[in-house]
Every structure is written in structure tokens, then in C-alpha cells.
Point group: C2
Chain length 161, copies 2
Amino acid sequence: MTHPNTEFLTNKIMLEFSKTLELFGLTTLESRLFAYLYLSKEPLTLDEMSEALGKSKTSMSTSVRSLSELNLVSRVWKKGIRKDLYQANTQLFKIFMSTYIKKWIDASNRQKTSLEEIYESIDVNKDHQESKEAVQNINHRLYDIIEFHKDMENLFSNIKL
Amino acid sequence: MTHPNTEFLTNKIMLEFSKTLELFGLTTLESRLFAYLYLSKEPLTLDEMSEALGKSKTSMSTSVRSLSELNLVSRVWKKGIRKDLYQANTQLFKIFMSTYIKKWIDASNRQKTSLEEIYESIDVNKDHQESKEAVQNINHRLYDIIEFHKDMENLFSNIKL
DNA sequence: TTTTTCATTCAGTTTATTCCGTACACACTT
DNA sequence: AAGTGTGTACGGAATAAACTGAATGAAAAA
């Protein structure tokens, strides 16, 4: 990455690509870092990333950790080098989409469960006549919300990559 | 929404439902507001929302505007009432998913175009021998990134609701 | 026309997030 | 065991986002 032309290109691509990555819920820094790692031929050390992105080593450490928890980045060993080396995982599409879809399915499911618990707890007949109608209305809306969650869960579960 | 029991229920549901809505990119306040509107039987005025959510009227005004730009909320007229009235649109699944998917397709497409422009602008042979290899590497990665965007666009385009 | 009732704009304030540098902890070397 | 080269937790500073109240403007009522 020493030659000015490649550096210029890298920056340009990084700028665009990171916009996409932010759609997946990555922070600005995480996105730029991933993009940079992806474009780099060789695995990089924290210091190199820090230098390249002009951010502190601490930032790199936390960001690269987030990225590897998402399975977007892997640690790599090279004999003779003590520093940690990281590289971006390839198979962009598969990795990003599958973690993303998983996130949605999990969320839908968790939310649906909470809402169903509320639904079960409602006793329409418990109350005075005056509020009965209001409770029934809420009950009905809640039912629709739960259906909404089921539909979401279904939709995402049926996506095949 | 005067009875304590219905109010309690509404809050409980709002709390959960808004978590889901945030997944669609709504802010916390927008999410809570939409949830509240959705649960409400009647269309509501800015003052009522303000009172219910404990936030300023200004907040309500801006939030409800965002929501209606997303087609999630509609303005409603009732004769004799001067204040603006808003209600949540039903058909949760259709509206939320379709705007969401559209957002992704648009973004993929826009990004893909930018990246393709960069790709076209690269002349592998332009440079000295020493940087040629580096440029070729970037070129190759860029190609993969573009493919990634195509795949994304495809995936979302093929979702039928 | 004047007054009243709303919604919205704008400037300022508060709150939350991001980020950095110091300090600590761990591991390898000698 | 001591020393050196690493990564990470933590508190505070900088930055960005959310929120508010007073002022403005527009529309209806008197």
C-alpha cells in the first residue's frame, strides 16, 4: 500500500464500500476498518490499521474485536511475528447475509414471545364494563402485532442464500 | 386510555413492540410513537401524543412527520376539530417490509453504481511494474465487492410479500 | 380587522456516543 | 524472575444526536 495510486484507489473504494457495510449495523469505524482489511492483500496488525485509518490503537482493538465476534474477521498467525494479525473473511455475501438474517429471526422470535406472554395475561372479562371495550381493542391490536412478528420470522426463515 | 389497566397494558406492549420497530431504522421515539398510535383506537392530536409520551409537542411534530413520510402514519380530518389528527396505518407487515426492502434495493443499487464507476476507471497497465500487482489485487477485490452488491440486490428483489 | 388556536422553525441545552490516552495485565524472552 | 513488547479496560474529552421552549407564521373564529 505504499504507492500513491493504490492508496488513492483503496480510499475511494473504502469510502463507498463502508456505506454499504453500515447498512448491516456496523459503526462507521468498523465499516471502514473491514473495508480496509478486505482490500488488503496481507493480514494486518493493530498498529498498521491504526496508522492506515488514522485512529488510535485502542479503537482498532475494540473494532477488530467486534468484527471478529461477528465472524467478519479472523485472527491469523505467522511464525516469527508476535503481533496479532487480522484479515477479513471472504465470502462477503454469505457471511453478511446469514448473520444479518439470523439477527432478524432471533429478534422477531424474542419479541414475539414477549408479546405472546402479554397476550396470554390479558383477561378480557376481568374488568368493569366501561373498560371492557378498550381492553378488547388493545387485545385485537396485539393479536395483529403478533401476526406481524410471525410473518417477519417466516419471511426471513424462508430466505435461502 | 383513561382506565389504569388499559394504560398499563398499552405501555407494556408499546415497550416491546417499539423494540421491533427500531429494527426498521426508526428512532426510539418514532418507534414508541408509532406503537402508541397503533394501539390507540382513535386518531390522536399532537397534544395528546405529547401528553401520553411525556415529550414536547415539537418532538411529536417532527416524529410524526418522519413517520408519515415513511407512510406509516396518516393524517385524518374530523369535522369540528381544528387540530391535526394522526393515526397509524394498519397492514403492518406489508408497509414495513416493503419500505424496508425498497430501502435495501435502492442502497445496493446506488452503491453498486458508484463502485462500478471506480472499477471502470482503473487502468491496470497504467502504472510502473512495481505497483501493478497491487493494483491488480485491488481490482480483483473490487470485482468481488461489486458481485456482493449484485447478489444483495437480487436477493431483496426476489422477495415477495 | 383583531384575536385566538395551532403547527412548525430555530437556537440553545441536555443527553448519549464515539474516541483517545493512560494505566494495567498478560505473555513471551532472556 | 525481571524486562520488554503486546492487547484491553477504564475514565474523561470531543463529537453528535435528541430534545425543549420561545418565537414565528398560518389559518380559523369573533
